[in-house]
């Protein structure tokens, strides 16, 4: 009996070590990150510079690889009416989010800034209406829509709603493309 137990224990501990990496993926952080920070203080615009804007970041996205945060982002995406304009990634009144075109940049901080500060062509500024923590969750979800740096296994499951798009797990990652000029600049 002792030998099997030893082998069992060995196998068990190996498996534990192997799956420890999963902890972060499934951790559920309920309080804010940081708990109470002023919106807008996290990402700041830089002064005039050639090329696409690269905001200065004082805080990194905390939720890029967290399944719970992505799913919370998905919930908030519906709750805060993001889906009203962007549908479920395909766009409508707003641009699509599941494609490879990122008008204002695809980095987490770009997207954070877009949500918090708004964009001139109609994207409202949600800073102050949505807490930083929730914005980061939205960022994580939005990026997961086009599978940017988001591991497959943390992407949100489908909604228990109408099947409006292919299961997200099946999406092929798309490479971000940045348009250097926002359409506003091209308009007469």
């Amino acid at each position: 009996m002792t030998r099997p137990i030893r082998v069992l224990a060995l196998a068990l501990s190996t498996a534990v070590l192997a799956t420890t990496s999963a902890c972060k993926r499934e951790t559920r952080e309920f309080r804010g990150y940081p708990p109470s920070a002023n919106p807008g203080s996290v990402v700041q615009d830089v002064p005039l510079a050639p090329g696409p804007r690269q905001p200065e970041v004082t805080a990194r996205s905390p939720y890029e690889h967290n399944a719970y945060a992505v799913s919370e982002g998905k919930r908030l995406f519906g709750w805060y009416n993001c889906s009203g304009c962007h549908s479920h990634g395909g766009g409508g009144m707003g641009p699509p989010l599941m494609d490879d075109e990122w008008i204002y940049g695809s980095q987490p901080e770009n997207i954070f800034e877009t949500i918090a500060e708004g964009r001139p062509n109609g994207m409202p500024a949600f800073g102050g209406r949505i807490g930083n923590d929730d914005i980061w969750k939205l960022v994580a979800y939005v990026r997961s829509l086009s599978a940017l740096d988001v591991p497959q296994d943390v992407r949100g499951g489908r909604d228990d709603h109408m099947q409006y798009k292919q299961p997200e797990q099946e999406e092929n990652p798309t490479r971000p493309k940045r348009s250097t000029l926002p359409p506003a600049a091209t308009q007469p």
Partner: protein, 337 residues
Amino acid sequence: MTLPLRARRWAAAAALLPLAACDQRVQSALDPAGPQAERIRRLMVMSIWIAAPIAVAVTAAVVWAALRGRDSAHVPETPRADRRMAATVAGLVAATVVVLFVWMISDFSAIRSLSKLDGRPLAVTLVGHQWWWEVQYHDSVASHQLTTANEIHIPVGRPVLVTLESRDVIHSFWVPRLHGKRDLIPGYTNRIWLRADKPGAFRGQCAEFCGQQHANMALWVIAEPQARFDAWYRAQLQPAAAPADSTRIAGQKAFLGNSCVMCHTIRGTPTGGRNGPDLTHLGGRRTLAAGTLPNTPGHLGGWVVDPQGIKPGTTMPPNNLRPDELRALIAYLEGLK
């Protein structure tokens, strides 16, 4: 060998002792306030009266059987003894069948008495959300319909037909002092009849595991005399009164200028969030956060700022308010009677 019996008795006594001392029976199935709960309680009492003697008899038989033959010489297996024993066992089996049959018939009669109540019912729709309850009162005139949350006011003596729906996962509506539970299942519309025969506040709680805050998903059914109910209803139909003093005006400003408006509605202001409970008459409710906290300014303040400390995993985000905004907001919300 009397110990097991004693142990069991001791356990029962130990269990009953705190029960007797406890005067908190807002959610006890043993203290019915409506006809159905009363009917079920009678059935329960009857069941216990059937079951307890059986349990005692079996325990006694087991103990006696174990002790009696211990020192005796080997009882030879004789066909006669076996036949006698077989007859006894057969008789007991027959008795069991009879008891079970009677029991079952009484169940059936109880079932029949639960299904419907007489009288024109008050129609209420209860929508389960993770983790709160949306309460809708129906009226043929659309503008007399009412949406509130986490509290169902009902008139004493009048049947209430509660329609149960869910928007997310399965919940279960259970107010033990009025009736048994009934699930709220997405995709299904369930109904349950209630009637409170005496005024009072009866606590209910979600009884089907529904996720992180299943434990803190409670509601109150408040039974009032018809006149008081009518007055309550009329008051609820009114939009929230405009804030009068400067603090409350500032509080309303804080409400409208922060993330509150993303999810909540206060009728009379340009808000229409339906992700969270309607707050139009928040100040008049008994509890906050679906029965989690008493509705006092202190609890409200803590809840607004740090809901995740009180209900970890709840859908309400932490709010980042300036201290003066917080104080004003508390004053404003508490003033929404």
